[in-house]
Each structure stands twice: as C-alpha cells, then as structure tokens.
C-alpha cells in the first residue's frame, strides 16, 4: 500500500458531542460543509485517504489507490469552489470500479490479463465525474471481468466484508460497496449485469442502484454482457445516489445503446410522499425465500411502508425461473465474444513461451483468465456454437421477451415491486466458490431485473443476528428510477438501518 499521508486523520468538529470523521459522512452532508466553506475538499480527501491507510489491509477494497491524483483533484475542486464555479458534488471523493477505463490509471478488471493495461482514454462516466469536479480515490476491486457474486474471483484476492472480515462483500462490485461501507470512499461507482451493484450493496449495508438499461453510458465500461451491463452509483443513502444519478444519467452519442432522453432532477423526489403507492410482491420470488432473518427484515420493512400509506398486492411473474436460466445463456454467450479481444496482441498479458500464433492465443488466455471466467467463456462459446444457437441463445432471447412481458403486466398492478436483494446475508469467503450453481443462486432476485432492463434499488433493511446487513430491493418500470428514489427516501427517513456503520 505504501505511505499515504503523515499524521492523524483530520476530523471535523462543530460543537458536536460526538466527533464524526469526515470519511464517515455522506456526500450530501459534505457538500453542504463545502458550500458553507467549513471544510475543504483536500481535508475531506485526506480523511478518506487516511481511512484507507488504516483499514485497507483488512478490507482490500482497492486494486489501485491514487492518492496523488486524488489530492491534485481535491486542490482543483477547492479552487473551483472558491471561484464560485462548483457543482453539487464538486470536491467529493469517489472510488471507481476497476472495469471503467481511467486514462493514465491502470484498469485491470480484477484480471491478470489486464494487470498492466493503462487506457489512453476515460470512460464517459469518468469524464462526467471529472466535469463535476469529483475526486478520484482509486480503482475498486471486483470479481474478474465482473463475473461473480462475491469478489472472490479477483486476481488481486478477495475483498472482505467490513461487517465480518471472514465474509464476502458480495460481487462483482464488492470493492465499491465495501469501500463506502468502511469509509474508504464517500460514494463509489459499480456496474451491474446480474446484480453486481445491488448484491454487494445489500451485503455491505449500503445503498446502490442499477438504473434502467440505456440510461447511463457504457462507453469505457469493459463489457461483460453488453445487453445487460449497466453502471450505477453506490452510497450510504439515497440522497447521495440522487446527486450521482443527476451527474451520470444522460444520452451519450458514443454508446449506440444509450437512450436519447431527458432525466429529471432526481433530488426532487427525495421529499415526495409515498402515500397511496402500491408495491407488488411476486410470489415466485417469495417462494424461493427460506431464510427466516431475511423474511423478518422483509415483513418489518413492509410494516414501515404500510405505515407510510403504501399498499401491497400479490402478483405473479410466471416465467421468472426461465428468465433466470436464460441469463446463464445470454450473459456467458455475449461475454465469450466480448472477451475474445484479450489475446496478447495489442495490449495486456502475453504468454512468455509459445510455439505458434494459436499457441500464443491459447496460453495467453489460459494464463490470463481465472477459472470462473474460463468457465463462462466455455459455456458461452458452446451455447453459440454451430448446432446449439437455436436451442440456447435464440431460445434464451425469446424467454427474455417473456420475462419482460411478465414485469410489464405486473406493473399494471403496482408502482414498484418489493422483494429481497439476496436469499441470505453474506456467506463466508470460500464457502461457495467451488460450487458454481450455488453461487449462481445468489442472484435469483437480481438477475430478472437486468433481463428486463429495469431499474433496481438495493437498500439496507436491517441486520441479522450475526450482525450482517440484509438488503431490500425495489424494482420499477423502465425509466422510473425516480420512483425508487422516492420510495427509498421515504423509507430511509423513517428507519435508521442506513445509518449504521461497521466497527473496524
């Protein structure tokens, strides 16, 4: 890790009884302090960098920490604020998942095959963060090429859950979620293909949203499954997410799948009443739920919502199980093609010894990829290969239409769908890594959301007896993430789950 900064962590006092570290505060709170000139971005950044230095050895949220870049950006932010040229999130430190290209800063996707890859360009979202004047802390750890639910497949080793260091933080954006949870970042960016923002947010007790497919640019996001991948923000509460959604959502001409549409100011939904709204409970989700602690969190949350005037209806998503199976064809198929470019010719790892061109390809990729990635490449290549395309890929694409239609019908009866994020709280490191099917079942509540391209929010819903966070999930129709903001804000005003912090 190296020496980050000399001296103790800067703290902030303003006649408060308890001292709250800057790294423990939310972006909204810090933004206010910056506006009021009570603190500088450099001070905030130093606080977070100090925290990283203190706990990173235990958590391992980061692949690359960029303290010099961060402090330079913090100084620039302070100058902008002084000049009156700032934006809502100017000066706030953020971690970026290591599958989003950052110009001049290595971008590894948690893989050996890109261990030394330094992109000559920024992802569009990174450009948006720069324009906003945010401070980049570094690149967050992840499952290799975003393939996983536990951040155990990273070439750099697993990230540890700040709530229990022997447990996984969830995946694939485990580093992004753990960093926010542990105070190693104020907010972070993750990506979500089958639950990779929502699952780690749930396991780490933070709030994360995967917005509607097409609402945030994918240009510069290293592709896993192109028709499913979406970038989204992770923070301690929905107030921070609303600010980030304002920065990130928007059309990008460099991404052909980016939707040309205007997005509202998401902060205007933070104070809207949810009285009279209806939440749907899909029976096919709940029939899979057998963990009593998660069930308890769900029923408590339901009571909270009912207290706010929200109604609940039962509904059905008949093709749900098929939708989940179809994901395991579509995602690996697209991935097998997206990952073909890693061949040791233009960039990245190249095998040291080989006898021919084909040998170079085969050894480079065998050395560069971990077992989960290889497994999915094998699966996807098989599913697309001659003779199997109709039975697998094409069939899965049709089933995808069906699950999307199921959701559309469901939304005729409710404003949003309510369910858990995961079937259980975080499991132990090493517990499921050798059993792919068990691992894949962690994603049953999150995958269907990606298959239909819908927005999904994960929010803290309480703790298990073991002191592990339990995540709730809200799902809305296409481009109705504002509804998710509204519902989550109402919930988080009434509850305090999101205020809890792990002791490290």
């Amino acid at each position: 890790m190296g020496n980050l900064l000399p001296g103790p962590n800067p703290t902030f006092r303003e006649g408060m009884q308890t001292v709250t570290q800057l790294y423990d505060m939310t972006a909204t709170e810090l933004a206010r302090l910056l506006r009021e000139k009570k603190v500088s971005s450099v001070e905030i950044t130093r606080s977070v960098l100090g925290r990283i230095e203190a706990v990173e050895g235990k958590i391992r949220s980061y692949v690359t920490v960029t303290p010099e870049i961060a402090l330079d950006m913090a100084k620039e932010a302070d100058a902008r604020i002084a000049a009156g040229d700032s934006r809502p999130l100017t000066g706030i430190p953020i971690a970026v998942k290591d599958n989003m290209c950052t110009r001049g800063v290595r971008t590894t996707c948690g893989s050996r095959i890109l261990a030394n890859f330094v992109p000559p360009y920024d992802a569009t979202v990174v450009g948006l963060l720069r324009r906003e004047g945010m401070v980049m802390l570094g690149k967050a750890n992840m499952d290799e090429f975003a393939m996983g639910s536990s951040t155990e497949t990273s070439y750099w080793g697993p990230t540890h859950n700040p709530w229990d260091l022997e447990r996984i933080p969830g995946g694939s954006s485990g580093g992004s979620a753990a960093a926010v949870s542990a105070g190693e970042a104020i907010v972070s960016l993750g990506s979500d293909t089958g639950g990779s923002i929502r699952l780690p947010a749930a396991f780490c007790g933070v709030t994360g949203i995967k917005p509607t497919y097409g609402s945030i640019s994918r240009y510069g996001l290293v592709a896993y499954a192109s028709s499913l991948d979406q970038i989204g923000p992770i923070g301690r509460d929905v107030w921070d997410l609303a600010l980030l959604l304002n920065v990130l959502c928007g059309h990008d001409p460099a991404d052909s799948t980016s939707v040309p549409r205007q997005y509202p100011d998401f902060t205007t939904f933070l104070d809207k009443s949810v009285k009279g709204m209806t939440l749907g409970l899909p029976q096919e989700f709940f029939s899979k739920l057998d963990n009593p602690e998660v069930q308890h969190a769900i029923s408590e949350a339901r009571a909270v919502f009912e207290g706010l005037g929200v109604k609940f209806v039962e509904l059905s998503l008949p093709t749900l199980d098929y939708g989940i199976a179809a994901y395991y064809i579509i995602a690996p198929s697209e991935a097998s093609s997206n990952l073909a470019r890693y061949d040791g010719v233009k960039y990245g790892h190249r095998a040291g010894e080989f006898e021919s061109m084909i040998d170079m390809y085969c050894r480079t990729r065998a050395e560069g990829f971990g077992p989960e990635v290889k497994r999915r490449i094998m699966l996807g290549t098989y599913a697309l290969s001659s003779g199997y395309y109709d039975a697998y890929y094409l069939k899965a694409a049709k089933v995808r239409t069906l699950i999307t239609q199921d959701f559309e019908k469901a939304f005729e009866k409710c404003d949003a769908i309510f369910c858990p994020t995961a079937p259980s709280p975080a499991f132990k490191i090493g517990e499921k890594i050798d059993d792919p099917i068990q691992m894949y079942l962690t994603d049953v509540f999150t995958i269907p959301v990606n298959m239909a391209g819908l927005p999904g929010m994960a929010l803290p819903g309480g703790m298990s007896r073991d002191g592990l966070p339990i995540g709730l999930q809200l799902i809305a129709p296409h481009f109705e993430e504002s509804r998710l903001v509204q519902l989550t804000a109402a919930f988080q005003k009434t509850t305090d789950h999101h205020l809890k912090r792990p002791t490290l």
Partner: protein, 95 residues
C-alpha cells in the same frame, strides 16, 4: 445432454483456451450441470415470441461521416506486448 471430451476440446479451441487435463474434466462436469439446468428452457413455449434485441426498443443511431483525430501512434502502441516500429509484432501464422 452429455458433454463429451471431444466437445470440450472443440469448445476450448474455439475459445482459444489451453486447458490442462484436470481442467477439462472439471469443466466437463460443471458445464454438464449448468446445461442440464438450462435444458429447462425447452419447456417454455416460444413459437410466437420474438427474441429480445436488448432492453431498449430503439434503432441504432447514425453518426455523421466526419473525420476526427486518431490516437497518437505512441498511445496506440503504449500497451503493446511486442512491437516493431509502429506495428504490433506477433508470431507468424502458419497457413
């Protein structure tokens, strides 16, 4: 649907992955399990269903035919594992 060793070899070659014998055995078993799970897809009637293109019902946008600056060649090659002049260098392909 039982996967054969020949199929594993074929798929590994298509995907340009050199696999050790133990890996091949492991993948054969795991792929088999996963594909059994996938076989449930055959149960769903989809005769009149159109495959979903992506989640968004739109058409691909068009870009004007304007030339923009390319990457400076040193940046294009900065990550190259092997180069010769401004070309990427690779072992010769045997035709």
């Amino acid at each position: 649907m039982k996967i054969t060793p020949e199929q594993v070899d074929y798929v590994a070659l298509l995907g340009r992955l050199a696999l050790e014998p133990e890996e091949k055995k492991k993948y054969m078993g795991q792929l088999d399990d996963i594909l059994k799970y996938m076989d449930m897809l055959a149960e769903v009637p989809t005769d009149d269903v159109a495959p979903m293109a992506g989640s968004v019902e739109l058409y691909t946008p068009l870009r004007e035919d304007d030339v923009k600056a390319s990457l400076p060649v040193e940046e294009a090659l900065a990550n190259a594992p092997a180069r010769a002049g401004t070309s990427f260098r690779v072992p010769k392909i045997l035709e």
